[in-house]
Amino acid sequence: MSDFSTPNKECIRRYYNKPIIRRLKEVYNCNIIYYGLPSPDAEDIAEWIEYISSVVAFQCRDYGNVSDPDQPTDEVDKLIEKLNSWEASGQIDNYIVYDGYMEEVLFKGYDNSASGSIDYTHDNHVTLFNLDFCNSITSPQEYITKEGDRISKYKLELIDKILEYQSKVSHQSDKFVLFLTVQASYNGADLHDYIEVNKKSLCKYNSFHRKKHFVLKHFIEDCLYNKIKAYNYIPQFMPTVFYKGIKDVDMMHFAVMCIRPLDSKKQGGIFVYNQLINDITNTLPLMPNPESEADKLINYLDIIEGMVHPNKNFMETFCQSRNVNTYWND
């Protein structure tokens, strides 16, 4: 197991993410283009490789430090070697690795490759985003521009940018899934502003054990919901997963299935969002349970008034959802 994997993480990849990807590929005939932060050992890609046709990966050289041309490229080279071997063996069709943090590549428009920077392009509709961040949603990523300016970009700005690129290449009935993993960390000006504005709706969490986690979950779900809608996709949230990551750090994993609906599906000139934000935020999380043979995903251990446990067979719930019946089943 690499530095970036734990039994919990493996359990989520296999029993939570994989069924979603399988459905996209096998039921909806999506060509799976992976886009994300796979880590040098690319364990997530390895787990899903039977479904993936191409890979767009971002790999920084020295995690935690601002990119610098003098940093060794070992991590990037390791990932390239791995992907290259999969390409040579015909397991994937092609790949590209951008040298740098996703934030800096997307906002600068090019990466830090030593021989000549690779210009960032987003020409194809991505079907699988795996934004597996090791830090919190409110942690900024710094990078240095060509002019030498030091810039900070936040994860939510990045997600916005990704959706902006994606929306330019999406056609009607195009589908994708967005996986987002962040630390359950509570700091950040954005979050505090949000709490200030939404005090009323968030006060229900005051009596909760791990109240801050639920406020953060609410904040992220609400942000994702609105951003996805803003780019004319219909989101269908899967239950959020809470788990312990490396060094027992609390982590959260989100999964949203999105579709750009057909114009013909408009009702009264608008698209109806059948899954409401309250349905999403009032759903308790699932948790990985790698030790168990039978129940790899279990319900959150507490019962909380006003919140409901999701169906552990979350794919069944997805298939029966009104969004899927309205927009996905053509």
């Binding site: 890979v55 590209i96 021989s115």
Partner: protein
């Protein structure tokens, strides 16, 4: 022939070639160019500082043994490279070449010229026929020819590569007849095959990059297209109206080191002589097409003009003077047609039609003659007008075949551009003055101006 692996020395840090034949395990060759460069540069520095003598300088064999890895048979498991074929990876591309090599369009254009690619059957109607005929010719002459499937991948972009030809490279989106495929051989040897597709108009191929013939040894290009024109007796006149290739399959004909000509050998001159027979034939085919086009234009014009006269004669004309003028015109048309029929300058498929037209013109002339006689007798004898015993011939069956639509030029410059002459700004300015002061000044109206330009074009093309 070498595969040019050392060309990659300057391009990248590492070259890996993995190859697998059907039912074999894969083989892998890795060349560490960065390491080679580093060793050589280190040694050069030592040598310049006098810290190493000539005997201790690394020899080529040691350098290659240090920096080239070849796997033993069976060492690379099949699962690592399960597909049959060859994969070539260039990694650590030099920053000096990176921007060009990472541009998939530039790289694919280069590869299309130099590699033995297959034709794109989806965009080029003659693709299969040409491939079949080349294979047949080679098989008949116990020669070997092969083309390959190539997939180019630059970063995350992937493209299947084909020869660059498509129907849209020709005017009217198709070639004229053809493809013409000729074997290059003499009494003793078979050298290869030449194929060519002629433009469907008497003009140069639209895409200037593909005009003419490219000489290839098997599929690998030798020189550029323009360098093959010297083998065509009529020079660029017909060469530029073709898209084609001269494919050498004879193993004794080799390209020179820089791949811009054939290496000197006993066979080289013999090959060029045999090639001359083919290129003469290609010129002949294009010339015949040009003559046929001209003949069609003449015949079509005659049909239109004669029909017009016939209409006039049948409807209103009784005046002897006017009849006489028409008779003179018909005489001239008849002579033109008879000359062309006699000298066989009529497209074979339209000879009968031309002969029939000739007969009808003669009938019309006889009819007019009789009308003239009646008119004369009416005047002299003042008798009642006699009825003509002859019938005016029927021209309704003659149709001027649709000739290619004439372009409408807005100016002399647009005409010259269309004829694909290149000129600089100063000459352009001069042409504009000529256009304004002379051509436009001479024309009474716009229609006449257009027709002047069109006549100028036709005159030029017919001279061509």
């Amino acid at each position: 022939m070498g595969i040019g692996i050392y060309s990659a020395y300057h391009l990248c840090d590492k070259l890996t070639i993995t190859s697998k034949k059907e039912n074999n395990t894969p083989n892998k060759l890795t060349m560490y160019f960065a390491k080679m460069k580093s060793i050589l540069s280190e040694q050069r520095a030592l040598r310049l500082n006098g810290e190493i003598d000539g005997d201790r300088i690394i020899d080529l064999q040691t350098l290659l043994e240090t920096c080239v890895e070849i796997t033993e048979p069976g060492e690379t498991p099949t699962k690592d490279f399960p597909n049959t074929g060859t994969r070539i990876e260039l990694s650590g591309i030099s920053e000096y070449f990176y921007s060009e090599i990472s541009n998939i369009d530039i790289t694919s254009r280069y590869l299309q010229d130099v590699l033995p690619l297959k034709f794109n059957t989806a965009s080029f109607a003659h693709a299969n026929l040409i491939e079949e005929k080349i294979s047949d010719a080679c098989e008949r002459n116990s020669s070997y020819f092969e083309s390959v499937n190539v997939t180019l991948q630059v970063n995350s972009q992937t493209k299947e590569l084909y020869k660059p030809y498509s129907d849209s490279d020709f005017h009217n989106n198709h070639a004229e007849g053809g493809p013409y495929i000729l074997e290059i051989k003499d009494d003793e040897f078979f050298y290869g095959v030449a194929w060519g597709c002629l433009n469907s108009e008497r003009r140069k191929i639209k895409n200037s990059d593909l005009r003419g013939f490219l000489i290839r040894k098997q599929g690998f290009a030798i020189g550029k297209r323009a360098s093959a024109v010297k083998h065509f007796p009529r020079g660029n006149t017909f060469f530029d109206r073709y898209i084609g290739e001269i494919i050498i399959t004879n193993p004794n004909l080799l390209p020179n080191a820089s791949r811009n000509d054939i290496e000197y050998s006993f066979m080289r001159e013999r090959f060029f002589n045999a090639l001359l027979t083919c290129t003469t034939e290609f010129d002949g085919i294009a010339n015949a097409f040009q003559e046929n086009c001209k003949a069609d234009a003449v015949l079509n014009d005659l049909i239109v003009n004669v029909k017009e006269i016939s209409n006039k004669v049948n409807t209103r004309l009784q005046n002897s003077d006017e009849l006489l003028i028409l008779y003179t015109k018909l005489t001239s048309y008849k002579n033109t047609l008879s000359d062309r029929i006699k000298s066989k300058r009529i497209r074979e498929t339209r000879v009968e039609e031309a002969q029939e037209l000739e007969k009808n013109i003669i009938s019309l002339m006889e009819y007019i003659q009789e009308r003239l006689t009646i008119n004369v007798s009416k005047k002299t004898e003042n008798k009642k007008p006699q009825k003509s015993t002859k019938k005016s011939p029927d021209f309704s069956e003659f149709k001027s075949e649709e000739t290619l639509q004439n372009p409408k030029y807005e100016s002399l410059l647009s005409l010259i551009n269309d004829l694909e002459f290149s000129f600089d700004e100063k000459i352009g300015y001069l042409l504009e003055i000529i256009d304004e002061r002379f051509i436009q000044a001479l024309a009474k109206n716009k229609e006449e101006y257009y027709s002047f330009l069109l006549n100028l074009r036709n005159e030029f093309l017919n001279e061509d």
